[in-house]
């Protein structure tokens, strides 16, 4: 076990708390950079998706995990990012302009969605975002002049400064680089006053506003930033699947995106990446398991059942998600014979009502 003695206030702000972290993250980066030389084409394709979903997960983590707002409408931002990228690319706009524009447009839309969030809380906010998602999906399907309607749009590979990112490896490095930048951006945001304001809002809106946090500004800002991350993810997603249509951005997609955050661990930056990886790997595991199951069980419904069960079991038994599980394992190892069962136990209580009676 390592004891940190802080001798300087600057140490509180360091991204890496100690040299051990530098070593392990360095090793991880080295493995990820070497991945194209180690892994096959199929694994690389999955890694693309993990990177893309990680970026989206980071955006959602900012909103759900750090600001405490609910969104069941993030597929709409994914769609806006994807369609902006597709349309700009078709008009010959270079990638280094179209990607920020995709992020900006999504962010602007997120700001719009953030406006009702000022008045709505909890479940009402969930339903407002749900309605927003359905409306955006329908608008995309009906605005045939711009979006091609239900017949969708095709995309060419990314082209940047004369380089074509059409190979497995080159596109992987693009996704990986953007994921790393997103993580850094989020980490930096979270240790800034803005990020601390977000966390204050999550923990208690009333005390945050008493401490001078402007709820209106920061809630809409959180929605906008979250949507911008999702928009970047959407642009990459569009390039990855190279064909986009409205039925890829339904409510079910939104729910899947939220499960990234839940399964990874609400309130941990690591959780977004772990959750994304889990969400991508799960269908592969299911398709392997299908070979060993009787035919009427291994039908189309198996994936839904496993997905639902995983969600339920995680929420009941591991509410801090995969990263929370890792924290427990690490604490157990660090404290070795002194770990107690109740160290992470949740407090049971009667419902704290949001209504006034």
């Amino acid at each position: 076990m390592r004891f940190l003695f802080k001798t300087d206030y600057a140490q509180d702000l360091q991204l890496f708390k100690h040299s051990g972290q530098v070593f392990w993250y360095g090793l991880l980066s080295a493995i990820l950079l070497a991945a194209p030389y180690l892994a096959g084409e199929y694994v690389m394709s999955q890694l693309h998706f993990i990177c893309i979903y990680s970026i989206v997960g980071l955006g959602l983590m900012l909103l759900v995990g750090f600001t405490g707002q609910i969104s069941l409408g993030h597929a709409a931002f994914l769609a806006v990012g994807a369609y902006t990228e597709a349309l700009l690319q078709a008009r010959g706009v270079p990638f280094f302009i179209s990607l920020p524009v995709a992020a900006l447009l999504s962010g602007a839309l997120g700001w719009v969605l953030g406006l009702p969030a000022l008045r709505l809380k909890g479940i009402y906010l969930a339903i407002a975002t749900l309605a927003f998602n359905v409306i955006v999906e329908e608008v995309i399907a009906r605005w045939e002049g711009l979006t091609g309607g239900n017949s969708g749009l095709h995309l060419k590979p990314v082209e940047l400064f004369g380089m074509r990112f059409d190979g497995e490896a080159s596109f992987y490095y693009l996704c990986l680089g953007l994921t790393a930048l997103s993580i850094l951006a989020l980490m930096n945001l979270l240790r800034s006053p803005t990020g601390r304001a977000f966390v204050a809002i999550r923990d208690s809106e009333i005390s945050a506003s008493c401490l001078g946090v402007n709820l209106a500004t920061y809630k809409t800002l959180s929605f906008a930033l979250s949507a911008a991350f999702t928009g970047i993810g959407g642009a990459l997603y569009a390039h990855k699947v190279s064909f986009i249509s409205p039925e890829q951005f339904t409510l079910l997609q939104s729910i899947e995106l939220v499960t990234i955050v839940i399964l990874g661990g609400v309130g941990f930056v690591h959780g977004a990446v772990l959750g994304a990886a889990f969400l991508i790997v799960l269908p592969q595991l299911i398709s392997i398991a299908k070979d060993y199951l009787p035919s009427n069980v291994a039908g189309s419904g198996l994936q839904a059942v496993v997905f639902g069960l995983v969600l339920i079991l995680f929420i009941i038994f591991e509410p801090h998600g995969l990263y929370g599980r890792w924290l427990k394992v690490r604490t157990w190892l660090e404290l070795f014979p002194f770990y107690r069962r109740g160290m992470f136990r949740r407090q049971k209580s009667y419902m704290k009502s949001e209504r006034l009676r």
């Binding site: 939220v258 496993v306 209504r355």
Partner: protein
Amino acid sequence: MLQLLLAGVAQGCVYALVALGFVLIYKATETVNFAQGDLMMLGGFFALTASVIMGWPYWATILFAVAAMVAVGMLIERVVLRPVLGQPAFTVVMITIGVGYVLRGAVTMVPGWGSDTYTFPTPFSEGTFKLGGVIFAVQQVAVIVMTAALVAALFVFFRYSKLGVAMQATSQNQLAAAYMGIPVRRVNMMIWGLSAGVAAFAGILLAPMTFVHSNMGFIGLKAFPAAVVGGFGSVPGAIVGGLIIGLVEALAGRYLPEGFKDVAAYVVVLAVLMIRPSGIFGETARKKV
């Protein structure tokens, strides 16, 4: 025109019943059950089994499906929701979404149900009758009448029965109800049973209109707007909200360009949330520090 309104009201009745299920659970436990539509789907499948495979009469079908779903609802509350009682709303929402996934997937695995689409026979066949120059479809009138009967029965239950009063008390203040000697957890379980029973009823009424299949539950997503428009914590609000959404949809499908019908409900709900976030019948209490 009147016919259009009638169709809208009939559709609205189904929304209202699903919304009623939401409201019952929300009032009692402050959780929103995203699996309500899927409970309705399961109720539809139970009814299908009773009427088609076992050949029971219509009333026995209803009894069987409702009884089975009450049991399922109570089981879900006991196994899945009680462990997370008192957790933040978001957690509970996600867990009910998980329940919905499981139900939707599990139905396709049951032998004899599968992922096919079934028609559901009713004693009120496709007939129509004329009254004062307007053609009424028997099917739609039956839906409206049965909804009215169920709502009346629920009203009597909540007003006069001991359990109904206990449920009201629980939904107003759990702690106070517990002090008064009401077994809050058991009442919560019964409310889930009641809500699932109502969902089964809605499923039976909807089945002849849309057929029975495993994705039938997505209509539950239309019932959200209904519940919100009426006010999430209000039983009469759920009924009125359901009727409003049904009518708006029918009118939008008739007078607005194609595509508006599917979105109309959501546009209405966004408008209501902007203007009056607690819905038409919702209470507007303020939290004071």
